[in-house]
Symmetry: C2
Subunit: 233 residues, 2 copies
DNA sequence: GAGTGGTCTAGACCACACA
DNA sequence: GTGTGGTCTAGACCACTCT
């Protein structure tokens, strides 16, 4: 059963996957080392490495030097979510995108926002509330704080005309961030902007983005009722 | 500025990232081809390829044969979520995990579940409702349908003793699935099981998992109030 | 110490998409 | 056609980790 001439890394990956699904290699079990597989498949070790590394990233294999490679016991389902620029998500559904700034003001944020952004006492902030619509219907109500000390150009920008998100994507660099998803009951303000009843269950995405050690923006996005975020596993 | 001797793919990636952040290569702009970069960095083309491919997967670069590589205009933020086995999430927080089956019955699912699972009319289903607790407090209420036609062993399993999720992870193979996240108001049943008021905003994860063309299970998990799912960007 | 995965190299050929 | 990324190879050395 040697030399099957499986010579592309995708083919190697497919064959390995088949063996895992067929329980030829059961969860928790070791699989042959790269050298052995390369000989069996009649390809270079680098090709096997590429295939196994890809499966390892996907969480299906666990690899350690010296210890070897084993089939993951509890395959961690990793879901990769695309966080869309809302305009594209809306336009992608064939709807007309709309943007309205509800409130723009420079003032100090509540303590929890300031501390989450690790901002010094002297930092100035721009507070932008806005609504984005799909075919005229409210899609998202956004409550955003922009750190003017780290992104001073934002002070000169007309956020009546362009959404803060799009402006930031174009003009502010960002290195990393945190994102969280939750459900909240709509309060009076959110309910009013999204045109729904108070208390409705709302899907909320919260983000903080950073450029190095400096927080750029803190944003909460309250989605319309019934919104679902989906992906494949 | 040639031959800087950047010879690991991580180092190449770091340097490329630096140039993107510093706007030396602006969004939408082409970057030099692999050959040129390899010469500049004093490494092999394959090393550059590894670095750029990784950035491409992350959504920061767009690569096309012949056309070359450009900095993504709208870097799609991809968030990778780890969907945990709840027991590990709870125990990882240092809490005591508990599991209680609330209802186990074999009967036909509602039409929407059946069609979502693309199950034929003859298929039999097991319906399992359960609550999982952390230090005694309700953590998740789970409403699950298991396709007995595709996973017949489930009929002989005692789901009073083991959570359906853990059993399925161990005994059923799965090739792919869909997952979605949403917010709903707690109805009377959910509120009762989670010990909270009716109407509370609840974070819901819905999953369908498949083995090839056959649906294995459909599950909705209703989390306790205030639950947030977090990740890094 | 020794075995395994992780990576680099230099060269080669292929596949695709553009002119 | 032609230039670009995509991949494979054979060999080598390194880094980690287990014994």
């Amino acid at each position: 059963m040697a030399k099957s001439d499986v010579n592309s890394w995708q083919a190697v990956q497919a064959e390995v996957l088949r063996r895992i699904h067929a329980r030829i290699w059961a969860p928790g079990e070791m699989i042959p080392n790269e050298q052995a597989l390369a000989e069996e498949f009649g390809c270079a070790r680098a090709t096997v490495n590429r295939a196994l590394q890809s499966l390892s990233e996907a969480g299906l294999l666990e690899r350690r030097r010296k210890a070897g490679t084993r089939v993951a016991l509890h395959p961690v389902r990793k879901a990769t979510l695309d966080i869309p620029v809302l305009r594209y998500e809306i336009e992608g559904q064939g709807a007309v995108y709309g943007y309205t700034a509800v409130q723009i003001a420079e003032h100090a944020p509540p303590e929890e926002v300031r501390s989450a952004m690790q901002a010094g006492a002297g930092h100035r902030f721009l507070h932008v509330k806005s609504v984005q619509t799909a075919d005229g219907a409210p899609f998202v109500f956004e409550d955003r704080w922009i750190n003017l000390t780290t992104v001073p150009e934002a002070a000169k920008t007309d956020f009546e005309a362009i959404s803060a998100n799009e402006w930031l994507v174009r003009h502010a660099r960002f290195t990393h961030g945190q994102i969280s998803f939750a459900a909240v009951n709509a309060d009076a303000e959110v309910a009013a902007h999204l045109a729904l009843r108070q208390g409705a269950a709302i899907f909320v995405i919260s983000r903080i983005t950073w450029d190095g050690g400096q927080a750029i923006t803190h944003v909460q996005q309250f989605f319309h009722e019934g919104y679902r975020m989906q992906t494949e596993l």
